[in-house]
Symmetry: D2
């Protein structure tokens, strides 16, 4: 197995095998990880794991990571990146969530939503049983409507410490002695904690 | 001649013939125009006019516009867009500034720098004679170094009312009922006025 | 009456009397105006006119501007700014829209929403009768939820050419020979045209 | 000693004692940390440590952190935050860099510049002897001029893997059921590695 220079988070984009699928960019990934505060004894689930960049970084920090994905092409990339980084504590779940999550036998500390295939409310319901009280949830959005719908669900399900961070990154591209700023797409990073006790 | 729906500024990008040359995007163009406050009796010069999008909008608002450009491909686009919008008060000057500007026989109210081919200091010197006291200068930059060098020259030449605006635009792209935000490159819009009197 | 240096749009913020009410900042105002493409024979309505900065700029460009506002403090500022800029073609309507709009006897070319007091759907219904087919509508939003709700209404009412522009401005503040970039709040500028014919 | 919920990086701003001094905001701090890829056996130096937010986070990740600061008020906050988080591996150096750095007896893996008091070139010279070949340097800038001058020095001193990231964060502020986006000031995060061998 190849050894990578960086462990934990902050892995450069080019270290992942990407294919043509979209991947959370390095800076947005780091910020998202930082909002999740992964702990070394924690268990995490990444729904819509895509190429697995978030799952791999979580797997460097947590005891166990479940990576759920429904698209066949992405599943292959996910497997490739798990092996590439040697993350044996990362388990891949195939199919549409929440149906695909039945085999998870332990309560979760962290739930990250990279893509939900339109089943957001079902996943929120599922999380009521499976995400620990006080457990951390985060999601990234590139569309305004999905960001707002998620925010409204977080309030409806009485999530606490809701944090909304819109991040707009521009990267310098060197052209001779000049540095041209190239804008990336803005992303909404939304994170919150499940309430500690009580019914909604 | 085709009639265009919009006159003045705020012309949509797609109304211009663009070729493969980069063009100031609609929103950055509108903001730049707004900083220049073009008046109907004023005379403007656009150095590095490119496709001519700024020159055309200036020509809707001002008495006379000189559009200087050195690249042959851009010169063709410039001519095409001048005719497309029927701007007879727009005169095209071919070659590298400031040498190419010798034929301008009247003092300028407005000087816009879209690209300077590295002759920034010579152009500042030239402007000492040709831009009216109190005259308006503006420039757009996509590189940090050129923006800073221009700012330092504005201070050295004792320009007044220096305004620095970095604008970062994201445009919504409709995907079904969703709106994805697509980031554009950030641009520095820098504007100032020549001092009203006195030597530097 | 004082004469102002600038007419049309691009009026600096400090030229307006502002009080403590929030005011659309210069750059966002210019971009919004540019999306509305005001024409000299057109009639405009500004709902939630606030200090009147958009109304005043529209009044420099259009034949007639109605400025509707319900808050007493803002109404005073609106009146002050109308007089300050000598915009006799600007008529102030007091009270909550759409009830306050009954006296408008002519069809509108332009409808700008600066604030709607929660009556967005009623205003959209009202606009079905009063905004000309092909007429221009625009609104500025600082909250994600209101931006998304407006977008959904525009689609429901079959508006055309929907444009979503999120603008994030940073202004340079000079500190000696250094330029510190100060971020403003991002604003969603959403514009569209009423469909040209047909029922929804 | 109080126990804090979060260790490593991603510590919320409000967990630090801040006084009136400016502090790197949470998101910018996380991104900066992520660019530095701190390792558990590494030694770091933070010049212009200010309130110590970066030093504290580095001290959770690295073997040893030197925090240099010249302003008396900041030195007190630095000491307070070191104790608050119980970071015994964080050593505070008082005075202007590079003179204040004489007591550092080991080569550095990481050099972070939070503020340089105008001694940038002297610090670059000092780093030629003290930062390991391949060692990581990063700095944050809020002014365009300092960012560009640092970039030019990095090129002059032949630094490798220069990364320029301009980050613009907007934070959601909940107002009832609405989320208002509040813009922060944009920051340039610039990072690079010292060349591995050879003279400049």
């Amino acid at each position: 197995m190849k050894t990578f220079r960086y462990e934990g988070y902050g892995i450069p984009d080019e270290d992942f095998i990407r294919g043509s699928a979209p991947m959370t960019k390095e800076e947005v990934r780091s910020l998202t990880m930082s909002k999740l505060h992964p702990g070394k004894d924690e268990v995490a689930l990444d729904i819509g794991a895509g190429t697995g960049s978030i799952s791999v970084e979580l797997a460097y920090c947590c005891r166990k990571v479940y990576a759920a994905e429904m698209k066949p092409v992405a599943l292959e990339l996910l497997e490739t990146n798990r092996e590439r980084f040697g993350r044996d504590n990362m388990e891949i779940l195939s199919g549409a969530a929440p149906d695909s999550l039945a085999s998870i036998g332990e309560p979760l500390d962290i739930l990250f939503l990279g893509g939900t295939g339109g089943n957001l409310r079902q996943i929120m319901d599922w999380a009521e049983d499976r995400l620990k009280p006080g457990g951390k949830m985060a999601a990234n959005f590139i569309t305004m409507e999905n960001a707002v719908d998620f925010l409204r669900l977080l309030r409806e399900y009485d999530y606490q410490e809701i944090d909304v961070t819109q991040v707009q990154i521009a990267k310098g591209r060197g052209i001779g002695k000049l540095t041209m700023l190239m804008g990336q797409n803005p992303v909404f990073i939304i994170s919150a904690r499940r309430r500690d006790h009580g019914e909604i």
